[in-house]
């Protein structure tokens, strides 16, 4: 689980002058180490994120459906997920180590916990936001409870659900950098390596990649939401 990073500085004699002098940002280093350091880290980071968001969403979605049915579940779920959410990531990662060791599992469990609150809340709020008269009309026309949920309530809840996914995804992308303290994967690895050696280029490169990833994921999800909800974009055209 060691990131394929080789010693970076000092590359006496072989590094460029920029690297040797620890200039603020050395393109050559980025080019040279894209394949062995940056790209693997990026891919690992992406994987960590996707797995965490997928599992978190599955769990939160199920909980939200349950709470939509039985309102009394809402408070306990919010309390537990809120509690998990409030614990600073560095602490949570470490607190899990006795249970799941220094592994990707620990990282994933912690990351999933951070997604639960926002995904649960947004899904539930989205479902609750369906206008009452739409629900009344749907029931009155003869939709069963299941049909009401899947063909009316969930589509109308999509904007809120996707908003939650956006926040959760960006949150995980950010938190996954801290995962380096339990498993040497993700963009946190080059960041931490750069911090230890105060090697600016690596810090900036990895940091910037992380920011870019987050912005790209956010934008992508906005596009997804627009594609899935064509009715939200039309205005009165009469």
């Amino acid at each position: 689980m060691i990131a394929a990073a080789e010693p970076v500085i000092p590359d006496f004699g072989r590094g460029s002058s920029c690297v040797r002098e620890n200039g603020t940002f050395c393109w050559e280093w980025v080019r040279d180490h894209w394949g062995d350091t940056l790209r693997p880290a990026l891919v690992q980071h992406l994987l960590l994120t996707l797995i965490a968001v997928a599992i978190g969403f599955a769990l939160a979605f199920a909980l939200a459906l349950a709470a939509h049915r039985r309102g009394r579940l809402t408070t306990p779920v919010v309390l537990v997920t809120g509690l998990l959410y409030t614990i600073p990531s560095l602490a949570l990662f470490q607190l899990l180590v006795p249970f799941t060791g220094l592994s990707r599992t620990t990282a994933e469990v912690a990351l999933v916990s951070y997604t639960l609150l926002i995904l649960f809340r947004n899904t539930l709020a989205g479902l609750a936001g369906v206008p009452e008269e739409v629900r009344d009309a749907a029931r009155g026309m003869g939709l069963t409870r299941r049909q009401l949920l899947w063909s009316v309530e969930l589509p109308l809840a999509l904007p809120a659900i996707v908003a939650g996914l956006r926040i959760a995804t960006v949150t995980v992308i950010s938190l996954a950098t801290v995962a380096v303290f339990v498993v040497n994967e993700g963009l946190g690895a080059p960041i931490y390596a750069g911090l230890q050696q105060t090697f600016k280029t690596e810090l900036i490169a990895a940091g910037a990649l992380c920011v870019a990833l987050a912005l790209a994921a956010d934008a992508l999800l906005v596009l997804v939401q627009r594609a899935l909800t064509p009715w939200t974009r039309v205005a009165r055209s009469r």
Binding site: I87, P98, G188, Y192, L195, L203
Partner: protein
């Protein structure tokens, strides 16, 4: 399980150290929050009152949310070097968008009928702001403060990788403090964050006028604000 027992013992044995680090942690957080609040709240309130700058005010939060804190700290270290001030700057940058957006949305979104009525009664714009808009906006402003507080406390944990002191010092230094130490400090930081959350949740409820509170009866505690309650550490 034994690890946790050892962790508790560690806390007991090293109370002085942990306490000192807690104070460092709070100092760092407090300084950053102070600056962020002083800058963001007036700006957000003024913009919201004038109903201007909505695009910027909302999108600064979107962008701000996407900035992973460890990444930002690392870029900050690269550019500014290590140390208390540099970390504090990074924390301010991370806290600012949350507070700004909440303050803006809070004042901008005050019931326009209430504002209209106030103006119609002869209040000057300044009176409307202080007597009508701010009291009604206070709960949401506080939600932003609360989110920012917890967020900064959490991020300050990472400060140790950038040369500032906090409880994170112990957590990242497993070599010196071993697992019980790491766990002990982790427990401390978790408790610290939770206490902060509870404190500010109570404060938020306290500044919510009774009337508005009744409307929210259905919403359980710890919800904060839907739009900006997110964090990146």
């Amino acid at each position: 399980m034994q690890d946790f027992v050892d962790a508790i013992r560690f806390i007991g044995d090293n109370a002085a150290l942990l306490w000192s680090l807690t104070l460092d942690h709070l100092a760092l957080s407090g300084a950053a929050l102070g600056i962020a609040l002083l800058a963001a709240i007036p700006l957000g309130v003024v913009l919201g009152h004038a109903h201007r700058g909505s695009f910027a005010a909302i999108n600064v939060s979107n962008v701000g949310r996407a900035l992973p804190s460890l990444a930002l700290i690392s870029i900050g270290v690269a550019v500014l070097g290590i140390g208390f001030v540099n970390v504090m700057v990074a924390l301010v940058v991370l806290a600012f968008p949350i507070v700004l957006t909440n303050a803006y949305v809070a004042v901008d979104g005050v019931d326009p009928d209430a504002v209209e009525a106030a103006r119609g009664m002869g209040m000057t714009p300044r009176e409307v702001l202080w007597k009508v808009e701010l009291p009604l906006a206070l709960p949401l402003i506080f939600a932003g403060i609360r989110t920012a507080v917890v967020y900064v406390i959490a991020t300050a944990t990472l400060a140790s990788v950038a040369g500032a002191h906090s409880l994170g010092d112990v957590i990242v230094d497993q070599a010196t403090y071993r697992l019980p130490g790491v766990l002990g400090a982790a427990i401390c930081v978790a408790v610290l964050a939770l206490l902060a959350e509870l404190l500010f949740a109570a404060l938020q409820r306290a500044v919510t006028p009774r009337a508005l509170r009744l409307e929210e009866r259905g919403a359980p505690p710890m919800l904060g604000d839907l739009a900006t309650n997110e964090r990146t550490t």
